[in-house]
Amino acid sequence: MKIKYFAWIRELTKNDEEYIDSNEIQNLNNLKVFLLTKYPNLQKHFDQEILRFAVNQEYVVENVNLKKDDEIALFPPVSGG
């Protein structure tokens, strides 16, 4: 699956996108655990519940199942307009 990062999350992961291929990541909660292990700096932002997840360009708040070809995005609050 493809993971995309934006704005200061991208600065924090030092990566705008990456591909993850792991049988252990079956759903969004699995992915969160994976990301927190790889990027411990994300922890405090997870705790503050300000980050937003999108799966295939749609906002997701519940723990959805993930497929190999899904595109998941992690980003901070938006500021367009």
Binding site: K4, F6, A7, E58, Y59, F75, P76, V78, G80, G81
Partner: protein, 138 residues
């Protein structure tokens, strides 16, 4: 129509290219957002606007669909720029085309509300000696 682009746009040209398609249009409300020279009492030098483009198109299309359910609209236009923008540059244009004023006014405001809430754009504002990622407040 939704356009996500680096380039500037001409409000007259953008609006008239849609207006000329429908002689039933009597009302066009448009909102244009610009880079201000000052934010939170700090001098702004420029901004960098980042976008998740595929998702932005998808979310803006959903917002336009919602607006069409609530109001009687003939057409709608959203243009949002990304990249480096300097003070006084245009950022966004939302225009609602309808027969009557109320529909165009309310839908234009509604689209701007949702755009600010859900469209995946991020402003990185550059001041004299630092920069800061902004968060929209509704």
């Amino acid at each position: 129509m939704i356009k996500i682009q680096k380039e500037d746009f001409n409000v007259e040209k953008e609006i008239s290219s849609i207006k000329k398609l429908y002689s039933s249009i009597g009302a066009v409300t448009s909102f244009t957002g610009y880079v201000r020279d000052n934010n939170n009492n700090t001098n702004v030098q420029s901004i960098n606007l980042e976008v998740y483009e595929e998702m932005a198109y998808q979310q803006l299309e959903k917002i336009i669909k919602k607006a069409n359910i609530k109001w009687s609209l003939i057409d709608t236009l959203i243009i949002h720029r990304y990249g480096n923008l300097k003070v006084s540059d245009k950022i966004v244009l939302v225009a609602s085309f309808s027969s009557h004023r109320k529909d165009s006014f309310e839908s234009c405001n509604f689209i701007m509300d949702y755009l600010k809430k859900d469209a995946p754009f991020w402003k990185n504002e550059f001041y004299d000696k630092k920069n800061e990622w902004l968060i929209n407040t509704i």
